[in-house]
Amino acid sequence: MSLVHSSAGEVLEPILERYSRNPRHLMQILRETQERLDFIPAWAVDHLAEALALARTQVQAVIDFYAFFYGSPRGKYRVLFSDNVTDRMQGNTALLSRMLSKFGLAQGQVSGDGLVSIDTTSCTGMCDQGPALLVNSYPVTRLSSQRIDQICELIKGRTPLEEWPAEFFRVEDNIRYKGVLLSTEMVNGQALKRAVELGPQGMLAEMKVSNFRGRGGAGFTTGVKWEACRNASGETRYVICNADEGEPGTFKDRVLLASFSERVFEGMTIAGYVIGASKGLVYLRAEYRYMLEKLQAALEARRKANLLGKDILGQKGFDFDIEIHLGAGAYVCGEETALIESLEGKPGRPRIRPPFPVTHGYLGKPTVVNNVETLAKASLIAQNGGAWYRGLGTKLSTGTKLLSISGDCDRPGIYEYPFGVRIAQILEDCGARNAMAVQVGGAAGTCLAQHEFGRKIAFEDVSTSGALMVFGNNRDMFEVARNFMHFFKHESCGFCTPCRVGTTLMCNILDKIANGKGTAYEMNELSRLHQLLSTASHCGLGQSAGRPVNDTLQKFRPSYDRRLSQKDFEPAFDLDAALAPAREITERDDADAHLGTDL
């Protein structure tokens, strides 16, 4: 016991001190604990619960909710293969099997010596340079059999991650097509200066003139959101940057944070100035943990330049600073109220809306939650003016949109287009020659077939949070939909029954169809479940979970039909085999101890 207590003190106390023993920081405290101990042991749960004056179950609930927190040992090296459909197309399944066989492990199993565990995880945002994996939260890109073999050797030799070849961890921006955001030169602080010259009301007016809409997917007018928050009653306000880019196939925010973080931070500061907030929070997805130190250094430099901190730019009373919080592997936290719950140190379950965050957000205070791209573009609008911005794009969708393009094309990467660009144009630019389908907006988005390639990227036509996955002629759209459905099942937070049970039922049916046991009955069930999920689920996750199935059922029906049994119905399992254990223990093998397949 003394050993336990001394390590509890040694390991946990400095972490607790760093976060001022504030239970709101529970996520960060758990993350740092795990970075030290490789998992979160029961004694640490006890210690943290006591130190933070929380019930043990509250701490345990957070550990259990997030995929990247482990309550039991997971291996010194924790390898997670990204399992988006784009990783699958790049061959991650064979690479996963290769690594598993090198260690003689099953997926999810921890090696006997506690050295390594290997499993899969949802899209890690490296679709343009996959297949990818995470090892102890750090991404390794461009996997090949050779690279897998090297990784196995490094793990067997217990080589610390810092000594692995830097090339393994290289993450490219792959910017292929620059629009106004990526091509405009911006000097740090220039946009902020301009905003201060305009004053909060003037800057807000510019935002409204620009008719700029949020880039996270929902497309709410940013100026209206800021104004609602500014007018909400209360003293304290917050700005939150949603960098929980979990939508499969999306990686534009990764690039913005890697190479344009100044613009994002500047946009946050401008938002803070307009609404009267003195604190901003960045919610960075755990998969982007590797950027944390660099982002913190950028914040420190801004403080030194008086672009953050007290009396910014010499403006008396203009105080604003930014904190970075890391997520822990939960797609649902991209939903703004779930994200707020997570920032408060709780499991990320979406709240009931209304009230909306602009009046009751972080800690119950008025809060603006904006996407990374939204904030970066707010700084561009501050610098160049709302009227200028309004001149770009379409009437209802002003400005440009960053697209993360991956899949079957020659030049995957980031493309910035004015709104109104046609799908066919995009496909030509990225070198997608034999596209059969594109999935716009990630797993929760829209699947378009060839006859729809004339449609436009815009809120009034095909809206998107920024993902565009291309599927060539040889792809099987049934398997694409099945991959997405399993993603939703894994990521359902479990709070509401339609989503928790519905995603599982849809997965079971798709698996049954994949095994050749599906019938017309299952096809009807899929449509019925999609209908139920889309109308009865608590948040957007469940509401959109059935979409990839529904879209592919309409547009790629033969990929389902060819798998169907012509029978009226078939069980998903073998009834005769289900009697085998009972046959064994009763030592029976007579005719009545068997079941045929006929009705």
């Binding site: 009955y521 009972a582 009545d592 101890a593």
Partner: protein, 186 residues
């Protein structure tokens, strides 16, 4: 041809059975009380605990209580599916597996060993293996995992009113619908 105003005068033939259930859903059926008299104007019963007919003949509606736990359940369920135009899953066990499905986390061999060897007071030293006895499936299943099912009436048990509403809707050609008040899960 009937005009849209008319409804068929023939009584519909209905069969009911309980697989691995507690007969609570059938008790609830009887709880319709005086409404049974209304129902009997519309239907006649084939195989059912009410008639003691042993095998299901050709029917319009089959109603199944209980989950599928053993080989006999499978045979009965298949007979109902073959014989009934419309098959209804009645109550929590038939719909979701219910109480019998609580054993699904356990190995059925361990369950039998525990019951026939380990329990205090047990004097036998064999697990019953007469060929007359149906064998247990490795898992208890809701009926829709074994045959195609047309309708589901949830509840443990569904109330007599709910069953009456559902059947009269169905007989009249309305898509059956239970109001919130008619849903009962405790």
């Amino acid at each position: 041809m009937l005009s849209p105003r008319e409804t068929p005068k023939r009584k519909l033939r209905v069969a009911t059975t309980s697989l691995s259930g507690c007969f609570g859903c059938h008790m609830s059926f009887l709880d319709m009380d005086e409404k049974l008299l209304e129902l009997i104007e519309l239907v006649e019963f084939d195989r059912s605990p009410l008639t003691d007919i042993k095998h299901c003949g050709t029917c319009d509606i089959g109603i199944i209580e209980g989950s599928v736990c053993n080989s006999e359940n499978v045979h009965v369920l298949r007979e109902f599916r073959r014989s009934c135009r419309t098959l209804i899953s009645l109550g929590a066990c038939a719909v979701n597996g219910g109480l019998p499905a609580l054993r699904n986390e356990l190995d059925v061999r361990e369950v039998l060993r525990e019951v026939y060897f380990e329990q205090p007071g047990v004097v036998s030293n064999t697990i019953p293996n007469d060929v007359e006895l149906p064998l247990l499936l490795d898992k208890a299943r809701p009926i829709n995992e074994v045959v195609r099912v047309d309708y589901f009436i949830p509840g443990c048990p569904p109330s007599g009113d709910a069953i009456f509403k559902f059947l009269t809707d169905l007989i009249a050609g309305r898509t059956p619908r239970l109001d919130y008040q008619q849903m009962r899960f405790d």
